[in-house]
Structure formats: structure tokens, C-alpha cells
Symmetry: C2
Subunit: 207 residues, 2 copies
């Protein structure tokens, strides 16, 4: 398989990349030094770039070429009450989750039968006080994917939405660390791949 | 009641404003001439401004003062396949629906027991091919409100999400006109007010 992991230097992306090292692997992330090190360790091709930028996104997805599997392990977390949520926080959250996903989908060349995987969130976990911006970003992504899935299906491409419980990654650093009981990223990655590679491909995978 | 209608020069906002003319009425919209004419006809106060701009939003909500009812009848529609959806279209859709709602909520002074009303969408109607950006904006708004509701409840403020079927307004102009069977705006407005002013206030009103 030709596989592209977006957000490969993050906790979940890196764990996914390690499990996919036997495939033709393309790895993308914004931090180019750790990305190059990871790509070297796994025998993959590093494609550094900022996915919120349409031109960079287009270039890196064209360089990756035709794909069987695309994993969008990109995002940020943040907490603020509504009254203290700035425009920058709200728009930054939407860029990180929705705009990067849109650019990936818009410019990816997914093969017939290919799968593109994105990470949503359980509504009851994120639609809570202090998380309005994060909830909005995940709600936007899930709604976007549901509409996009029906378009991409016509090209024989499968969009898969994965909902994970909390995973113990650096995503939680701005919030003071992961919550108790968070899944180790290796375990989360194993469950994700097992689910998204199943036949027939699921539309929504709840781990 | 002290009432503020945002998007008052739109089809739905204008119909809502007409039904609320017996109250102390503040009307906001971006087009200042039709706004002034409407305010004059209804004996209300015009508060022109662009709600995507934090400074303008703050100023106009402060000028409106303490509110018993805020109606956010703001939004745009647009259609494009995912592959042809530009960053501008996606971000413009999110600004029009989510950012304006956030600014309204962030800067409004809602009285104890006050109600703030926003318009979502039935997922099955909007999560369809060609509507990924619109679906994302409505999905973001609904998720945001669910989190924000739990914060605002502590201040004794009720957030109400209304889902309407298609309403025959100018919103549909970019799409070639409203779909068959769209509700006349006067009828939609009557149903909205009847529902959102009920006791106890609903969290979600499906018309």
C-alpha cells in the first residue's frame, strides 16, 4: 500500500507510522527535523509542510502521488470559556482540524478503493464547558466529512471517521497533560488500523 | 421585553422583527439603509454593523444593552463540490455562521432568564453532496452551542437551537431560489417565536 500519514510527528501519527513501516510510507508534519528523523528510522519519505496553507498542501499531496491510505492525525486542543474565547482561538482551532482536513481531501490522489481517515470526537466528551471552540472544530469536521463522503464515494474512495477516547499524547500538553485512563498511543493506533482496514470499510469507527 | 434581532434585514430576521414590534426592539444588519427603513417602520433602534468584526460586534451589543431575547438570524448559503471548495468559501461560511454567533454570545448582556436563539440545520438535509462547507458551518455552530449552553446556564441564560426546514428567503438566491415547499418566512417566524418563548425554554426546537 501507498500510505500517507499527516501529523506524523504527533503522538498518534507517529504510532500509526510505526505500525505501517512495511508499506510505501510518506510522512508529513510541520516540524521538519523530527519528521526527517522519523522518516529515516522507518524508511519512509518525509514531506514537510503546513497543511493550513493551500499551496503547501497541494505541493505535498502531489509529491505523495496516488494513495491507498491517508491518515489525517492533525489537530490541536485548547480550553477557554466562551466569554474569553478570542477570534484567533476559534479560527485557529477550525484551521487546525477542518481546513487541514479539507486541503488534504481536496488535493489527495486517492486510488479507487482508497481510504481517507479523519479523527472526530465523541460529542458527550467534548461538548462541555470550556471546550466550545474545540467542540465546534470537531463538529465542523464530522459534518463536513458526512457531506464529502457522499461525493467521494462516486470516485470509489472511502472516507472514514474515527472517534477515539482520550489518547495520551502531546495534544494534551496545553491542558496540563492527558486525562486519567487515556489510551497509550500505540494501543490507539493498533485499534485504529485494525478498524479502518476492515472489509468492508466502515464509515464511522468508534474505538 | 428588550429584544435584539441580528440579521434583521434578511428574510427570516425581518419576519421575526415584524412579529416583535410591540417590544423594545433593536435591529442589526450589515446593510444600513434598509436597516434604518425597517427600524423606522417598526419603531425600533437600528444598530448597523458587521458581526464578523469583533470590535463592531462588541460596540453594537453594548449599545443594545441588557436583553431578554436575542435572535441570531444570520448566515449565508453556498454550494460547491469539495474539490472546488476554496479556502475562502470554507472560511467565509464558518465566519458567517459560527463567528457571528460567537461574537454575539461573547458580547451580549443577557438578563437572568434571557434567551439567545440560533439557527442550526437538520443534518440529513445539509450533509449532502455539494454542501460540505455549509454542513461544516452548521455542524460547528450546533456543537459550539451545546458546549456554550452549559456555561451560560450558570448565568441563568438559555441557549436555544432552532432547526427549520427550508424557508423561502434571499438566503437561497445564490442557489437559484428556494426549494419547493419552502416555508414562507412569516410562517417560519411565527413558529420560531411560539417555540422559543415557551415555558420552560426548550434547548432544541425542531420546526
Amino acid at each position: 500500500m501507498r500510505v500517507l500519514v499527516l501529523g506524523a510527528t504527533g503522538g498518534l501519527g507517529s504510532a500509526l507510522a510505526h505500525l505501517l513501516r512495511e508499506h510505501t510510507l510518506f510522512l508529513s508534519g510541520r516540524r521538519s527535523l523530527p519528521l526527517r528523523e522519523l522518516a529515516e528510522a522507518l524508511g519512509g519519505t518525509p514531506l514537510p509542510g503546513d497543511l493550513t496553507d493551500a499551496i503547501e498542501a497541494k505541493a505535498l499531496l502531489e509529491e505523495a502521488g496516488p494513495l491507498d491510505l491517508l491518515l489525517h492525525a492533525v489537530g490541536v486542543a485548547g480550553r477557554a470559556p466562551v466569554r474569553e474565547t478570542s477570534r484567533e482561538l476559534l479560527e485557529g482551532m477550525l484551521s487546525a482540524h477542518l481546513l487541514t482536513a479539507h486541503h488534504a481531501l481536496r488535493y489527495a490522489r486517492l486510488q479507487q478503493g482508497g481510504r481517507a481517515v479523519f479523527f472526530g470526537a465523541y460529542p458527550t466528551y467534548v461538548r462541555v464547558p470550556g471546550f466550545a471552540a474545540y467542540a465546534a472544530a470537531k463538529g465542523a469536521l464530522e459534518a463536513y466529512l458526512e457531506a464529502a463522503r457522499k461525493e467521494l464515494r462516486r470516485e470509489g474512495v472511502h472516507l472514514i471517521l474515527v472517534r477515539l477516547p482520550a489518547v495520551a499524547t502531546g495534544l494534551w500538553a496545553p491542558l496540563g497533560g492527558p486525562p486519567k485512563g487515556a489510551l497509550p498511543p500505540e494501543e490507539a493506533a493498533r485499534k485504529v488500523l485494525e478498524g479502518v482496514l476492515a472489509e468492508p470499510p466502515p464509515e464511522v469507527l468508534e474505538v
